[in-house]
């Protein structure tokens, strides 16, 4: 009877999910309620978790709860700490959830809501969650080893080196692109700039509190920080209304880029307790609160999605970024569906804290489902605003012009009516001088979130406060990624440099710290600056590069996972990792090829460089812009080289893995697994 009831409940959940997906896919015309999106996503996640993840856990990985985990065997209260599965889920989710699932879907909304939503759900269920789960399992079985170490041991030394190189490359591009998102969110906005600037002294105060006054009392310091943050969000309005102060905090894109570069250097070189750690605590609390508030707001307000299911821009002519729906929708969504970066977390701290092997399913697969849900909410928030407004905010001045009139004329001609007065009023409503040409995804997401929040609490009176709260929330945790990423990048450079000259590798040698900090900041700072001076807004250029690098890393992780499954003799279930790996390789290689060689200058980097060189040769560039155009040509060619290097890395890794797989299949190579030996757990089943 119980089994029949259970089957009946799951049948209902499945039918509801299928029905909601059908409603999303086939609806045309009037706005569609956001409830359908939530229902479709939640039902698909429930079914996937209940059946697919259980199948992967039982058949593919054969999780064994009788086996002691690294946390039990090496429990030292420092690195290896047995942790309750709900607490560890929170840790893991806080670590994997960054700006990607918010920004990616917002940008991909230019194709309409359908392609992005479908990929967010299907990509996560069949790809991203599987990757996170399998890599977590592999790391648990290897005493919490990192992805690079596992690649070196299981695939070969070259595989390990390629994985490390991929991590460093993705880090540089990631930091540049998140820096650009902040620049575009803060540009000419004294309120937002003031609020974010004030988070620095707040973090410093928290750092001193935690270091000297109450060591390790994170909750007390975070509560103090959150109160101060709320105060500065409100105070930002007063600053923006006082002309003398507003002038100080009204910065151009270039000035902001240099400020962020200087900040990144300081965060990398300063002691970690002073700035990085307290900002991270603050960001974790604000992030958790804002994501919960957004979910609650969407459920209460149930906004109607106004963006069509598919827009005319699926043909590749989109103003937000150029490129057809395949492969660029997949590349743009990135972390919301599959993220290679997650493999670093799944083979980082999480495997060292897990209590039982069986918890890997809930933590690895489950946390990624939640991240995908955050992506779906971002898609809803972006698509709930009138499409004309969405395109006005996200299109660069080079395409729609820099005045409300020119933007309205261009965007209306695409079939998305836009009233210039409405744009001016919206900007005034959120407390900004203008919302035009704010490419990057953050401002349009903030507008979407502010509209949902103000419909829940406060009405139009609080729209500007909610908008700046949302901007602060996005910028705060983007800066956390920037801080932490720059520091890790510095360590990687120190490790590499230490092989050439030993003192450079020392973490206590100040000149070495300063040189490697400057080098890593210089690397991402160059790409950031190049994005800021790009007349097409930079996001068009940098986000696809980031997406390619991120999906490349996911392919690396899935190659490692597939190799381990082959060595474990799980031939029948190889498709579980092989299918998403093939999909990612296809997407990454197609996108790389198009980014380098596409004849349309808006997509192809080389054709864009050639077009600019042609204009220079023809003398059609004004003398004042010649130096800038020369710089742009160089940047486009450099980006093409970076893209080619990324593609070559995946080809080299596949060749290395293919050689090994062939040897294993033909039994020319004996499979050697580098798992830790089995030790039975001493804990009772209920522990």
């Amino acid at each position: 009877m119980k089994r029949v009831l259970s089957a009946g409940i799951w049948l209902v959940v499945g039918v509801c999910g299928a029905g909601a997906l059908a409603a999303i896919a086939f609806h045309r015309g009037e706005g569609l309620s956001a409830t359908w999106f939530v229902l479709a996503a939640v039902c698909c996640y429930l079914v996937a978790y209940r059946f697919y993840s259980a199948f992967v856990a039982a058949r593919v990985l054969a999780l064994d709860n009788s086996r002691a985990t690294p946390a039990e065997r090496h429990d030292d209260g420092r690195d290896f700490v047995p942790t309750n599965k709900w607490v560890l889920f929170g840790h893991h989710f806080a670590a994997i959830a960054g700006p990607g699932p918010l920004v990616g879907p917002t940008l991909a909304a230019q194709f309409g809501y359908l392609p992005g939503t479908l990929w967010l759900i299907a990509g996560a269920v069949l790809g991203g969650c599987v990757q996170d789960f399998v890599i977590l399992f592999c790391s648990i079985r290897r005493d919490g080893k990192s992805l690079g170490q596992m690649a070196r041991e299981e695939v070969g030394r070259r595989g390990g080196f390629l994985a490390q190189l991929a991590v460093l490359t993705i880090m540089v591009i990631l930091l540049a692109v998140v820096g650009l998102v902040i620049v575009n969110a803060l540009k000419s906005s004294p309120w937002a700039t003031f609020t974010l600037a004030m988070t620095i002294p707040i973090a410093l105060l928290m750092g001193v509190y935690l270091r000297y006054w109450r060591p390790g009392r994170v909750l007390e310091a975070s509560a103090l920080g959150v109160v101060l943050i709320v105060f500065v969000v409100v105070a930002g309005q007063w600053v923006s209304q006082a002309p003398s102060w507003a002038r100080v905090f009204t910065l151009s894109g270039t000035a902001l880029a240099f400020a962020i570069i200087a900040y990144g250097f300081a965060a990398s070189a300063l002691p970690v307790w002073l700035l990085l750690a307290p900002r991270d605590y603050l960001s974790a609390f604000i992030k958790a609160g804002a994501v919960l508030a957004l979910a609650g707001g969407i459920l209460i307000v149930r906004p109607a999605v106004q963006m069509p299911a598919l827009t005319r821009f699926v043909d590749g002519s989109g103003p937000v970024f150029a490129g057809k729906v395949f492969p660029f929708c997949f590349i743009t969504i990135a972390c919301g569906a599959v993220s290679g970066f997650h493999a670093l977390i799944s083979s980082g701290t999480t495997p060292k804290m897990i209590l039982r092997e069986g918890h890997a399913r809930f933590i690895g697969y489950g946390a990624m489902l939640l991240e995908s849900f955050v992506g779906v909410m971002a898609m809803v928030a972006a698509c709930a605003m009138p499409p004309g407004v969405y395109f006005a905010i996200n299109s660069p001045a080079g395409i729609v012009g820099s005045t409300a009139q020119s933007a309205a004329a261009t965007i209306s001609s695409w079939g998305f009516p836009l009233n210039p007065t409405a744009m001016v009023e919206l900007a005034r409503g959120v407390g900004e001088q203008t919302l035009l040409n704010r490419a990057g995804g953050a401002p349009s997401l903030a507008v979407g979130m502010a509209q949902i929040f103000s419909n829940t609490i406060g009405g139009p009176r609080l729209l500007s406060i909610w908008y700046h709260f949302a901007i602060m929330f996005e910028a705060l945790f983007i800066l956390t990624v920037l801080d932490a990423g720059t520091r890790v990048g510095r360590f990687m450079l120190q490790e590499l440099g230490g092989r050439v000259w030993k003192p450079l590798g020392s973490h206590g040698w100040t000149p070495g710290i300063l040189v490697t900090s400057a080098a890593i900041v210089g690397l991402w700072g160059y790409f950031l600056y190049q994005g800021v001076v790009d007349p097409l807004g930079g996001i068009n250029l940098l986000w696809p590069l980031f997406g390619i690098a991120n999906q490349l890393l996911a392919a690396v992780a899935l190659v490692v996972a597939t190799t381990i499954l082959i060595k474990m003799g799980r031939w029948r279930w190889l498709w579980v990792t092989l299918t998403p790996m093939c999909a990612l390789v296809t997407v990454t290689m197609t996108a790389s090829y198009q980014k380098i060689f596409h004849p349309d200058p808006r997509i192809g980097l080389l054709s864009n460089a050639s077009a600019l060189a042609g204009q220079l040769a023809a003398g059609s560039i004004p003398a004042a812009r010649v130096a800038e155009v020369h710089r742009l040509i160089f940047s486009q060619r450099l980006d093409a080289v970076v893209c080619a290097v990324l593609a070559l890395m995946i080809v080299a890794l596949l060749a290395e893995a293919g050689r090994l797989w062939y040897g294993l299949i033909t039994r020319q190579i004996r499979p050697v697994l580098h798992e830790s030996p089995y030790i039975a757990t001493r804990w009772a089943a209920g522990d």
Partner: protein, 63 residues
């Protein structure tokens, strides 16, 4: 009422664990439960600083 109190206690304990507030207490417990000779425990400040250095040496925040 008792149920609410118990629920709040569980939430508070989970929040302390999640935020890292209870990390030092955890460390002392692990030290006491260890086999063989127990080393002298670090002070709260030293433990806090050491923990941060280790945490931020590897990717800890994703994109």
């Amino acid at each position: 009422m008792l149920f609410l109190l118990r629920a709040f206690r569980i939430f508070w304990r989970a929040l302390r664990e999640w935020s890292g507030d209870a990390a030092y207490e955890r460390y002392l417990c692990a030290l006491q439960g260890g086999r063989g000779e127990t080393p002298a425990p670090l002070s709260p400040t030293d433990f806090y600083l050491e923990q941060l250095e280790r945490r931020y040496a590897t990717p800890s925040r994703c994109c």
